[in-house]
Symmetry: C2
Subunit: 362 residues, 2 copies
């Protein structure tokens, strides 16, 4: 076949399928865990002040000003932070830097469907360690990963797609027991209600822990593609100096990301509103027959009432009524819907549409 | 050592060292082949009109609007174009997608120092095929790459750091002879004076040719990190659907890049000015004793006069006088300086400083 030069592992794999991004702006979009609120006013101001003439020059290769701002916020050193094009780039860099082809990668699953994709690209072997009935990691997660000789393990906390929060003490036990590099994907950590949940200092002091953070969710900047990692220098340094694309972040996003992370008060205000709505939406879903896992993310995983429409039918019905949510046709998820927390008005629209669909059926 | 999980190939390698980006804005910066002119007015306008509120949503995963704009410009199909975070991301994707660890990669060298770095990250084997005395590829380049069993070959055209242009007929001969995928890095092609030099249609029709383009040089957008590849669908498709990070380009850069590539008249105006200055600077350098290779890029490679200061001494002397150029401490380049074409005023400052240094010596 013309132009077929793919490596065997690439030819055999399927790519990641992102959530739908409809062009119709009237659609209620509760399918990709975006923040329903815009970014901080300081982001608008930084954008307005950005001089396009400066774009003719290369940007800071390692996004130093952002890393310094993030380091100030977390009380760590800039060399313990790597800035990346969304959290996705950090996940890729972990595999590129630390996992040889053929080596094993543990994932507490079901989880973010990008992990298997990135592992396949690196020609690594995925070891899926099933979450328990409460959607938390197996109590022997670290031991099982060690028995399989896993080089890297991914844990999502709060977990996606369940929203369940793993306690700090259990995370620390996993980290100290696991022989490889433990990556804790904290994409949703900003929405954790417990203000004492903070693993940043543990991460920089531990020899084998990398935290993933992103501005996509908590800071209303999914369109900016900006994330970062926090860990000890020996984990961060090779990714900054060797495996990262030489100028991985453009000049505009560096400035806007620094503005966003510096305005913690604004971001925290959106988290509080979302967390209030998370409670309201969960309660309402329960009153109409759904089971809802206790979530600490900006989404809930809801099990549809039995004897009613299937999850897939509800997903399709909502879509037809202009409300997008997420249905995963995967083990343990076939009877569930993942719903992003929107504004009160959006959540109301969702509930109204759900009620209509269920009543029609009843 | 704490946190030392690097793969052996990563531990053994050295990272890419980008050209200096001084914070002192008064420095004359002729060291990283940036365009001395700002981007198109349409880029300024698009930036001013961009609504930061839209950043809360994910961007187009594959930068479709940009790809359509680029396809219109080149008269090809959008599915024959991949948009990437600078040309660097495309180079990485080529290795990730098409080169298995241990497989061989041919480079016409000396060339862009990123190729060996990316090959080392992928744990590939670099086959350096020496450029001839005119800084053009060996006439048996394709045969030699075939004899070594190379899966991918990189050619830079116009070549960097020499600026020399390989003829279209020789490129086509190499492509049809080579058994693997031929990547033609056309980062500097916008500065070619010959308007008939255009390999885009050859590339999409050939089974094994990928062109690399970037907005960094020709469009004055190094800070935006935006490039693209052109090739047949079977080469482009796996990179778009499998190996690319799922949202590799942020929303702002997608809009600005589409604006830039649509305003060809403005960009071509900057190319004409730079090409005029390329001739002027080359002539002047020759009058003060330098040999200058015929360049079709936005830079020249100049051999310093013998019996004078060394290239490294001139580099250092210029730097002390506030003019940054590039010196490569590598085989064949020790007696040479690579100088980016600046504005007439910047080039004059360079010449004045060079004369002063050479006269002091004399």
């Amino acid at each position: 076949m013309k132009g077929n030069f793919e490596r065997p592992n690439i030819r055999a794999m399927k790519g990641y399928v992102p959530g739908e991004q409809p062009s119709d702006q009237s659609v209620i979009k509760l399918n990709t865990n975006e923040n329903p609120y815009p970014p901080s006013p300081t982001v608008f101001q930084s954008l307005a002040e950005f001089d396009a003439a400066t774009l003719r020059k290369y940007p800071s290769p390692s996004a130093l000003a952002f890393r310094e701002a993030a380091a100030r916020h977390h009380g760590v050193n800039a060399e313990e932070i790597i800035a990346t094009r969304g959290g996705d780039e950090l996940l890729r860099l972990v595999l590129t830097t630390f996992v040889d082809p053929g080596e094993k990668v543990a994932v507490a699953s079901p989880a973010y469907s990008l992990y298997p994709v990135l592992t396949a690209i690196q020609d690594g072997q995925l070891e899926e360690i099933e979450l328990n009935d409460e959607w938390l990691p197996d109590e022997r997660f670290a031991e099982k990963a060690n028995e399989q000789g896993c080089k890297v393990a991914f844990i999502v906390n709060p977990h996606a797609p369940s929203g369940t929060l793993i306690s700090q003490s259990f995370i620390k036990t996993i980290a100290t027991t696991f022989n490889g590099l433990l990556v804790i994907d904290e994409a949703y950590v900003d929405f954790v209600s417990d203000a004492t949940h903070d693993l940043t200092h543990f991460a920089v002091e531990a020899p084998n822990v990398l935290l993933l953070r992103t501005l996509s969710k908590g800071y209303g900047l999914a369109g900016l593609r900006f994330g970062y990692g926090i860990g000890c220098k020996n984990i961060i340094h090779p990714m900054i100096t060797k495996t990262r694309d030489s100028y991985n972040l453009d000049a505009i996003s560096q400035v806007l990301a620094a503005a966003a992370i510096t305005d913690q008060a604004y971001a925290a205000g959106t988290w509080a509103k979302i967390n209030t709505e998370r409670k309201n939406l969960s309660d309402t879903l329960k009153t109409i027959g759904f089971e809802v896992l206790p979530s600490q993310g900006n989404f809930v995983l809801a099990t549809v009432p039995t004897g009613s429409l299937t999850a897939e039918q509800l997903f399709e019905g909502l879509k037809a009524s202009g409300v997008l949510i997420r249905f995963f046709n995967e083990p343990r998820l076939q009877d569930k819907l993942r719903i992003t927390i929107g504004t009160p008005e959006e959540n109301q629209r969702l509930i109204t549409s759900l009620r209509t669909l269920l009543e029609k059926e009843g």
